[in-house]
């Protein structure tokens, strides 16, 4: 099971929205949360400390940290809808491994 961090500035508003959209779209593609993948919601400050336990991070804010070893993708399209499919595609690739 792939673990995906979903983070925003405060870990309150936009990550909630991004997570919901991601769940909806992944389920529409036939994946089950808790079986195929797990989403972990947090704030961007906590991404680095949680990265060891995760396979991917999606951040709605800018995230610059070269130390981080997992792929970090921009989750803004999950909020605006513009380009959301390509974000879901990347997550699907990860889940399919």
């Amino acid at each position: 099971m792939k673990k995906i961090i979903v983070a925003c500035g405060a870990g309150v508003v936009t990550s909630t929205t991004a997570m919901n959209k991601l769940n909806e779209e992944l389920q529409a593609r036939g994946y089950e949360e808790g079986q195929d993948y797990k989403l972990i919601q947090t704030s961007v400050q906590s991404v680095a400390s949680m990265a060891d336990e995760a396979d991917m991070a999606i951040t709605t804010t800018q995230y610059d940290n070269d130390e981080i070893k997992i792929p970090v993708i921009n989750g803004l399209p999950l909020l605006t809808g513009i380009g959301a499919d390509s974000v879901i595609d990347k997550v699907e690739e990860l889940i399919k491994g």
Partner: protein, 151 residues
């Protein structure tokens, strides 16, 4: 939809920059008893570090907010802007987006109101409707539209 209040909807808000927008809207929330005295500065500070301008299409929006600890009673304050104001792009601080519509969030519980937030994002994606909303020049009328939309 009790997160939307007629006292917290402003059409054609006249503001000179994003700080001015946030200040005016935070003052309204404070006067209305939704947030404590530190909320305004907290939103302004956070906006610098984690900006909230969303490049949602032809009409761009911003969703300023901050930590739940400054909030006493959840609410969303809405404003259409008389003239566009630059906010930094949420995904890339070096870019700005020209914002015409603002929804400032005061949320008391983290990870809550998922449906409401989802509806809000759908509103931002509905550019035709946004176009209609930003043309309304009466706050009461804008309130009526939003109340119906979030019903």
């Amino acid at each position: 939809m009790n997160y939307i209040d007629s006292q917290l909807v402003f059409s054609q808000l006249d503001a000179k920059d994003s700080t001015d927008v946030i200040s005016q809207l935070a003052d309204a929330l404070y006067k209305h008893g939704n947030v404590n005295a530190d909320y305004k500065q907290a939103v302004l500070d956070r906006e610098k570090v984690y900006p909230t301008g969303l490049p949602s299409g032809e009409i761009c929006v911003a969703v300023p907010h901050t930590d739940v600890k400054y909030v006493k009673k959840s609410a969303i304050v809405f404003a259409s802007l008389k003239k566009a104001v630059d906010f930094a792009n949420m995904a890339d601080k070096s870019q700005t987006v020209s914002v015409r519509f603002v929804a400032m969030l005061a949320m008391k519980e983290p990870h809550s109101q998922v449906t409401l937030l989802q509806n809000l994002m759908q509103l931002f994606q509905n550019q035709e409707y946004l176009e209609k909303l930003i043309k309304i020049d009466d706050s009461e009328k804008l309130y009526g539209e939003l109340k119906d939309y979030f019903k």
